[in-house]
């Protein structure tokens, strides 16, 4: 394929530094619980043994502090001579899986994955390639695909590995290159708070990538970040005006969303606060169900007119078309390309949402894992693969999911839920109604949205992207690659199995 003929792409420079960004809220939600029984005599032996700092005793205090569960590595530690449980003279220590760990998560976003994402957002340190937090437990798709990673560890320098993504691969038009193969997916004002949007926009700016307005209009507070914010035009057309199209470098047409393919956006009445309603030019506290489909587009010719319209308003824009994954997704993709789209964005059935009927999330349209190779192969056969930027989203949770997506044939990915998990989302799934998110992320409640500080949030998301980039670098280095575009379409590097070949102790 043609990438071998292209000159070596420059490695990204000036990437943001990682910083420690802890969360007060999340530090008590951990993998293990260390229990100290009343029999403890506060002798302090455990404090002197534990190299991870679980046990701490402050000089001059009679009583030892309660254990810091966060640092404990769990029963895996029992092989060590310093295992506190075995050495306690009064046998008052025990370690167990925490109840919270057991009640959190689901097969797609396991507890391990949520905790690992929080840890990456906090520290910016990448996960090992065989960490259990890399894959879910849903028993199919990404969770059944594993890289055949060469076992020998290799030395590599991240600055020499290129993870960039070109967003316009056509011969003409504005060229935009982002240093990581991901950008942020659309989340409307109304489904999430303006602080969440700001966190994502600031993180996008620091990584020189993009985030997206979603369909709820373009809040003024985002304008300073306009070079990193995509204007989305969705079927509801909320808040879409000439100037919001003109200020964007990328304009995205949302035909459908993976979580509710064939249905318009849902914003239930409680979350449509006066501020949201003003932005959407709607009546406050009414439920807003966007139409489906675009009532101005009933054919591929209409679709071309649609793109031409955006192009005439903003001739420099890169045009993205976001579609869901029906049976004929490859025809839709080709049609979008010939109508003038630069980016074909496939949103798979298991994608995130602020509110969607459960029946649609589970049953309508196929998972993204099937759509990517289908479209990739079709575009190759059509001879236009290198003119299209193929972006996938919908149920991509980790850096490894993104890498698998690229190996299946996409150029890059769009990330949504992982950004929110970095901000402290526990995936409780109560975003849709009432006051919205109790953690202040997917809410428009004037009290709750204060829980997220956008500078803090931006650093957490930025840390996550940094950790992901380092993980991609390690994966590429293992495969002796120095550019992530070399991974594209390399399905031969994947194996289909129930478990990775080797998994660190759980």
């Amino acid at each position: 394929m043609s990438w071998t003929a292209e000159p070596k792409r420059a490695c990204p420079a000036d990437l943001p530094e990682q910083a420690l960004v802890p969360s007060d809220q999340l530090r008590f939600i951990n993998r293990f619980t260390v229990v100290r029984a009343d029999a403890c005599i506060s002798c302090g032996l455990c404090a002197s043994l534990c190299p991870y700092g679980v046990h701490k005793r402050i000089e001059g205090h009679g009583k030892i502090l309660s254990p810091d569960d966060r640092s404990c590595i769990g029963p895996a530690c029992s092989v060590n001579y310093f295992f506190c449980v075995a050495n306690c003279p009064t046998r008052s220590l025990s370690v167990k899986t925490s109840d919270t760990y057991l009640s959190m998560g689901d097969p797609r976003w396991t507890s391990d994955m949520i905790l690992a994402t929080w840890a990456q957002a906090e520290t910016g340190r990448p996960l090992p390639l065989d960490h259990p937090g890399n894959t879910g437990a849903s028993g199919g798709g990404f969770d059944k695909l594993f890289f055949k990673v060469p076992e020998t560890e290799v030395e590599f320098s991240p600055s020499e590995i290129c993870t960039s993504l070109d967003l316009n691969r056509r011969k003409t038009g504005t060229k935009v290159r982002i240093p990581i193969p991901i950008y942020g997916g659309g989340m409307s004002f109304g489904s999430v708070s303006v602080h969440t949007m700001l966190s994502r926009a600031k993180a996008a700016k620091s990584w020189n990538t993009f985030t997206c307005t979603g369909e709820g209009g373009y809040p003024e507070l985002l304008v300073p970040y306009k070079d990193h914010v995509i204007t989305q035009i969705a079927t509801g057309l909320f808040g879409v005006r000439e100037e919001t199209i003109q200020r964007a470098r990328i304009v995205e047409f949302k035909y459908a969303q993976g979580a509710k393919p064939g249905l318009g956006g849902h914003l239930l009445h409680d979350k449509n606060t006066p501020e949201v309603a003003r932005m959407r030019e709607a009546v406050p506290y009414t439920s807003l169900f966007s139409p489906f489909p675009f009532h101005s587009v009933y054919s591929v010719e209409d679709h071309k007119k649609h793109l031409d319209w955006a192009y005439s308003i903003n001739p420099g824009a890169i045009l993205s078309v976001k579609v869901s994954t029906p049976n004929d997704v490859e025809m839709v993709s080709v049609g979008s390309y010939y109508a003038g789209a630069h980016i074909v964005h496939l949103d798979g059935g298991y994608g995130g949402t602020g509110a969607a009927p459960e029946i649609a999330k589970k049953n309508i349209a196929m998972p993204i894992e099937y759509a990517i190779p289908k479209v990739h192969k079709f575009l190759v056969n059509e001879g236009i693969r290198d003119e299209v930027t193929l972006i996938a989203s919908g149920g991509l949770r980790t850096a490894m999911d993104v890498a698998k997506t690229i190996a299946l044939g996409a150029d890059g990915a769009v990330i949504g839920t992982a950004d929110l998990v970095a901000l402290g989302c526990v995936r409780c799934g109560n975003c849709e109604s009432g006051r919205g998110c109790p953690r202040g992320i997917a809410t428009t409640d004037p009290m709750l949205d204060k829980l997220i500080d956008s500078d803090w949030g931006a650093k957490r998301i930025s840390n996550l992207y940094g950790a992901w980039r380092l993980q991609w670098c390690e994966l590429l280095a293992r495969f002796e690659m120095d550019d992530i575009s070399q991974l594209r379409g390399r399905m031969d590097l994947l194996r289909r199995a129930d478990k990775p070949a080797k998994e660190v102790g759980k």
Binding site: F28, R108, S138, G262, I364, M366, G395
Partner: protein, 462 residues
Amino acid sequence: MFERYHIPIKMVEGRAKPVPKFVIVRADNCVNCGKCEKACIYGAHKRSEEDPRKMADPQNQLCKNCFRCVSECPQRALTMSPGPEYRLLGKGIWTPLMISTIWGESETGKIPVFGAGYRGMFAGPGFDGMWTDMSEIVRPTRDGIHGREFISTSVDLGSKPAFLEFDKDGRVASDDAHALLELPIPFVMDISRLRILHGNMMSGYLHAAKHLNTLLMASPALVPHDLPDDERTRLVPVYPESTDVGTLELPRGVRIAEIQLTPRWREDVRKFKERFPGTVLALRMNAGGEVDRLLPDLVDAKVDVAHLVFDEQGSEHMEDKRHSKDSLRAAHKSLVSRKIRDQITIITGGGIAAAEHVPKSILCGADAVALEKALLIALECRDCPSCSKESCPINLHEAPVEWVEGRVLNMVGAWRDQLLEVLGAMGLREVRRLRGELGRAIFYEDVEMEAFGELKGGELDG
């Protein structure tokens, strides 16, 4: 005048103690500081009413699993664990989630809408191994339940003539062989196999069937004699194997009756057609490979409706235990290949545990779906392993008639709306066009093979 079909829904609260998904435990080291009360936006933590110095026990049924109280408790006295009673609900395809979803639908009558993406397994056996198609553009028919476009959910029970015949004067020749009944929804209610049925439940179901303008299949022995006419026409008597069709007396007003498939079925059908020419005849049978071969014969014998029965997990009772997804496809195809599909109606019953199973059954080839156990779950049934009047945790025998009716209307209303959403997403205007539309279904085994068939390192299993 045209009237759009409408199912009246209203809030019908549960009678039983709720089964919480999560249980919060407050340990002894709680100092009653009240921080959890401020943290919880759902009101699960409150001070005790008798002694405001103390925190009351957490209201677990209000908990939505956000962990705010757990993470904000300064004493770390709160822990949350999965509710033990909830986890043990149901078995097989009747998962705790399926059961609690039906409870919610029967209470509110609304489509379950929640935040965050899909959270279940990637795929699974039975109906979990298929997805329905959608289309991005085409046809101004959409907007689902929120739009102005009308999507028809009407189905016909009975055989349709393949073409019209005219007599020599150009009038349509009457054809009594085609008894036909139109229902506004592709659901019938079948209480003939329910494991428990009290008097009020029977009346509640019947009222619901009347309101829904659909049918209630029940054993004739259970039907009260003094029913008003508008209720009696809603009944489908289900006669047992021992019935002698030659001497059978149908209750007045009945438009459709069901007999069992027995070795003497040809004789029974002939007699029924002779004695009750305008009445739709349904033949009930356990689904299986034998049935695929038998269906063309049933068409020849002018049976109007084949009612295929599966067990409550949706599997065939005998032989290879195929799931109804596969069984229905085989039955449908055996008729289509002989060009006689429209001469018989297929009703499927058993293993219908969620709204999504309705469009999926119809996609696989059924014309209509019989609701059975879901009708019990709608009344908050906990699907206990053993069932008796005395041990019933929800005192089902005391359930008022109006309550039963309201819960059923709500569930059917929510299921129909979800059917409309699926039809809307596919760009279909009527549910009749969904039947057997296999090109608009996506089957796990097909897409998995297409996408990953070339991958080494694992066999293509389930």
